[in-house]
C-alpha cells in the first residue's frame, strides 16, 4: 500500500450531481469539511454557438440564442434584437416595444422563481421549490398562449415580433398578477425569515463591491453587494425609461452586505418590481399597431460592429456583433452573465464548509447553457 495522505482530500462535485445547476464539475480540495480551493471545470454543454452563428443568417441566429439560457429565453432574444436593431438603425413601433417589455418582465419573474426555488432546494427546503414551480407554470401558460412554446420561444424578431398578443392575454395577465402578488409574501414568510435558513445563508460567501466589479459580476449579484447599478435605469434600452420602478439593493438585512441572503432577497424584491412594470406596460399599451410593420425584407446590416448590453435576470447580457455587409454575421460573441458569476466562486467560497459552497453556488443562480454556449 502506498502512503495515505491525510491532509487534503480532492473531491469532485459533479458533473452528475443533484445540486449543480446543470452539468458542472467543481474540483474541491477539502481539509475535513473546510474547503481550501475550488476549480470549476465547464464545457460539458458547449454546443459551438458562436461557430454556428458564422454560418447561418441573422434571422436564423435567433433560435440559437434561445437555447443558450433556456430558463430566460425571452431576454436572450431581447438582447440580440436590441443590438441588431441598433446596428441596422431600425425603429419599431410603440406596441411592439410595450409587448417586448411585458414579455421580458414576465420572463424575469419566471426565471427568479426557478432560481430561488432551486436555491431553497439546495438548502434543504423542499416545499418552496414546488410552490414556486406551480406559480411559474402559470407564466408559462401565458407564454404558450402567445407564441405556442413553453420554454424556447423565438418570439422577438429583428424589427418586430413573431406573433401579436392573442385575445384575452391582457385579462389573463392581470388575473395572474393579482393572484401572484400575495404569493410572494407567503413565500417570504415561509423561507426568508426562517431562522434555520437565515443561519445557513447570512454572512456566507460575502462578495465585496470591488471584487464584484473586477470579476465582472453584474445583475442581482452585484446589486446585492450594495451597488445601485441596473442597465434598465443606467443605460436604458427599449422604453424602460418610461416606467417607474425601484432598484432593490442589498443592505445586509440579516448579516453582512453581499452575503447569500442578500442575493436571495434582492431577487425576491425584484420580482415585486417586475410586477409593477408589467402593470404599467399593460396599462399604457397602445391598442393598435402592427407587430410585423418594421420587419426588414432583407437583413444586411452595414459594415461595422456593435456591442450592446441588456439586463437579463442573471446580469448584463452583451452581444458583440461584427458584420461584413453580407446576410451572415462575421462574428457574434455573447457575453453571458453567468460566465462571470461562476468565475468568482473560487474567490468567495474558499475557506467555508462544504455545505456552504453549495449554498453559495445556488445563490449565484447560474445556468450552464449560458456559460458554455
Amino acid at each position: 500500500m502506498g502512503v495515505i495522505r491525510g491532509e487534503e482530500m480532492v473531491l469532485n462535485i459533479g458533473p452528475q450531481h443533484p445540486a449543480t445547476h446543470g452539468v458542472l464539475r467543481l474540483q474541491v480540495k477539502t481539509d475535513g469539511e473546510i474547503v481550501s480551493e475550488i476549480k470549476p471545470y465547464i464545457g460539458y454543454l458547449h454546443r459551438c454557438f458562436e461557430k454556428h452563428c458564422e454560418n447561418v443568417t441573422y434571422e436564423q441566429v435567433l433560435p440559437f440564442t434561445d437555447r443558450c439560457d433556456y430558463l430566460a429565453s425571452m431576454t436572450m432574444n431581447f438582447g440580440y434584437v436590441v443590438a441588431m436593431e441598433e446596428l441596422m438603425e431600425i425603429r419599431v413601433n410603440d406596441r411592439v416595444q410595450h409587448i417586448r417589455v411585458v414579455m421580458a418582465e414576465l420572463q424575469r419573474i419566471a426565471s427568479h422563481l426557478l432560481g430561488l426555488g432551486a436555491f431553497g432546494l439546495d438548502i434543504g427546503a423542499f416545499t418552496p421549490f414546488l410552490h414556486m414551480l406551480r406559480d411559474r407554470e402559470r407564466i408559462l401558460d401565458l407564454f404558450e398562449m402567445t407564441c405556442g412554446a413553453r420554454l424556447l420561444y423565438n418570439y422577438m424578431w429583428i424589427g418586430g415580433l413573431s406573433h401579436d398578443l392573442p385575445v384575452g392575454f391582457v385579462e389573463s395577465t392581470y388575473k395572474f398578477l393579482d393572484y401572484f402578488e400575495p404569493k410572494i409574501d407567503e413565500f417570504v414568510n415561509l423561507l426568508v425569515h426562517n431562522k434555520i435558513f437565515v443561519e445557513r445563508t447570512a454572512d456566507i460567501g460575502v462578495m465585496p463591491q470591488d471584487v464584484a466589479i473586477s470579476y465582472g459580476v453584474t445583475g442581482p449579484n452585484l446589486r446585492a453587494s450594495g451597488l445601485n447599478w441596473d442597465l434598465r435605469k443606467n443605460d436604458p434600452y427599449s422604453i424602460y425609461n418610461k416606467f417607474d420602478f425601484n432598484i432593490p439593493v442589498g443592505q445586509g438585512g440579516k448579516g453582512t452586505v453581499g452575503d447569500c441572503w442578500d442575493r436571495f432577497y434582492v431577487r425576491v424584491l425584484e420580482m415585486k418590481e417586475s410586477i409593477k412594470i408589467v402593470r404599467q406596460a399593460l396599462a399604457s399599451m397602445p391598442k393598435d399597431g402592427d407587430v410585423h410593420q418594421s420587419l426588414p425584407k432583407k437583413i444586411k446590416p452595414p459594415i461595422g460592429s456593435i456591442y450592446r448590453r441588456t439586463e437579463s435576470p442573471r446580469g448584463d447580457l452583451g452581444y458583440y456583433i461584427e458584420s461584413d455587409g453580407s446576410n451572415v454575421p462575421y462574428r457574434l460573441k455573447m457575453r453571458s452573465p453567468a460566465f462571470t458569476a461562476l468565475s468568482v466562486i473560487d474567490e468567495i467560497a474558499a475557506g467555508w464548509l462544504l455545505s456552504d459552497v453549495l449554498a453559495i453556488l445556488g445563490s449565484l443562480d447560474i445556468v450552464l447553457g449560458e456559460i458554455d454556449r
Binding site: M9, H17, A19, E33, G124, T127, I196, L353, S355
Partner: protein, 357 residues
Amino acid sequence: MTVDFIYNSLVAFFPDWANKDPFLMISMLLPLVATFGFITIYALVVIYAELKVSSFIQDKVGPMGQGVGLHAGKWGLLQPIADALKLLSKEDIIPSSANKVLFILAPFMIFVGAFISFVALPFNESIIVSDLNIGIFYILGVGSLAVIALILAGWSSNNKWSLYGGMRSAAQIISYEIPAGISLIVVIMLAGSLNMQEIILYQEGGIGNWIIFDNPFMPIAFVVYFISALAETNRTPFDLPESESELVAGFVTEYSGMRYAFFFLSEYANMFVVSVVAVTGFLGGWQSPFANYLNSPAMGLFWMLSKTAFLIFIMIWIRWTVPRLRVDQLMHLCWKVFLPIGLFNIFAVAIWTVLIG
C-alpha cells in the same frame, strides 16, 4: 403477548411435553415473527402517509390511481407495495473496490438495531414482547447500534461521499443521544422506575396525570427529547448524512435494491420506536385521556397507536417545512443549547418535586 404468556398457554395445552426446549423456542420466535410482520405493515402505512402528507403540503396530489391494476390503486394505496416490489427486483450492485463483508453487514446491523428495540415496546397492558425491568435503558442502549452500522456503511463503500455521510452521521447520533437520555432522566425520576409498564401506570387517571403536564419544566423536556429523537433518526432538519442535494445520497450512495430498502426501513422503524418512547414517557402510553372511560385493553391499543401516529405525523410535517442545518450548527445546537437545558431541567424538576410535590 409476552413470552411468558405464550409459554404458559402452550404448557397448559400440551401438558405431556412440558418444559421442553421447543416450547421455549416457539414462545420466543412467535412474538418476533409477529413484530417483524408489524414492522412491515407499519412501513407500508408510513410510506404512504409520508407520500400523501408531503404532497398536500407541497400543493400536489401525490400518487393517485383509479383502481387495482391501474396506476397505483385507488388514491395511490398500492404505491408502497409497488415501491417494495420495485426495490426487490433491482440488481444488487456491490462496487468492486468496496469492502465486501462490511458492505453486506451494514444494512443488517442497522436493521437489527431498530428491530430489537421493538422487543421492549408496550402496545397494551398485556401486549409487550418482553417486559424488561430496565425497559427505557435497554432501548436507549440498543439504539446506539445504528452508529456502528452507519460508519461501516460509509467506510466500506469506498466512496468519498459515503465517507462524508458516514462520518457526519456518526457524530450526529452520538452527540444527540445525550440530550435524549438526559430528558428521559426526569421521567424516570418522577416515575421512580425504568420499567415501561410502570411508567405508564404511574400516569393513570386521565390527562391531568400525564407526566408532560406534571410541572412546567416537563414540556421543555419533551421538546428537547423530541428534537433529539429527530436527530437520532436522521430526519430533516438533521438529515445531513443523507442529504440529497449535497452529498448525492450520503452514506447510501452505493447501495441499491433491497439493501437500500433496509436502511430506510430501519429509519422508519426508528421513528416508531422513538415516538413510542416519547408517548410512554410523556403522554401516558396506552392510558386513555379520560380517566375511566374507554380504557379497555382494545382501546388501550388504539390510544397507543393513535398517539404514536400523531407524533409521526408531526415528524413528517417538520421534514417538509424546514430547511436543514449545517453540520457545525447541528453540533452547536446539541452541545451548547440542549445539554445545558437538559441538565438545568433535572435540577429544576427535582427541586420542584421536593418543594411542591
